[in-house]
Symmetry: C2
Subunit: 153 residues, 2 copies
Amino acid sequence: MDKCDWCNLSEEDKQFQVYESKCWSVFLSDEQDYIGRCILVLKRHCNSMSELTGEEWEELHNLVCKVEACLKAVLGATLCNWSCLMNSFFKDAAPNPHLHIHVRPRYDKPVMLNGNTYTDSEFGHHYGLNKSVAISDNDKEEVFNQLKEWMNR
Amino acid sequence: MDKCDWCNLSEEDKQFQVYESKCWSVFLSDEQDYIGRCILVLKRHCNSMSELTGEEWEELHNLVCKVEACLKAVLGATLCNWSCLMNSFFKDAAPNPHLHIHVRPRYDKPVMLNGNTYTDSEFGHHYGLNKSVAISDNDKEEVFNQLKEWMNR
């Protein structure tokens, strides 16, 4: 769709693409408030979960399994928090949401990256909103490379 | 599973059951911070989205469509926020989560029930955590009856 930013991602937008299937792309999120947080974006413009085709829904299941397995294997995630919200689109006068799904890995133990320690201080509780992002560029790159490698083995 | 409360719901627990399919139950949530908020509970003990069978996943899609259509038709919801979190189970020493999915309808206009007005004051933003619940018992009963009737037409 012409006017949708999510339908017209630039190469820069795609630099943190971890994986691509027929119908979906997986990106490492800009926000790394939870280490390894990703976003699953449908490659077709679609407004809501209800409008997914059978094929897109089935592929989503495969992707959920693969991403959960990856976050557990690579980063030691204890569980994953999944959400499909799309609230921000509704600030517009003419909302035109593009379907995407957030996954936040949650950790009962600290994650170690290049000697730095990242703790999920809300473990056992709802994920925090507006957490300050503390990850270094170097550690983000490391997470990206590890997830991408595992997902594309 | 013997030790799981969600596998052994009492008749009292089920009093706000809106709908039942082969694999899933839909309940009106105790929390009505967003009017019509529901919870989809798998009827089988299962720890995570990854472990859903093909049949359960396919039925979930039908249910997502049906619940979204219901919340839009009955209550005038603008969109729905979907989430699968399960954090609370991980407060236990031996976590044994039972798969469930939250749906919070979001509203760009106030919802009217029996002359009372309910406003989604965070519309366009992430749902609020720990909102004070303001709905009356009477209005909750009204929402339950309307959703149940629509879902079982």
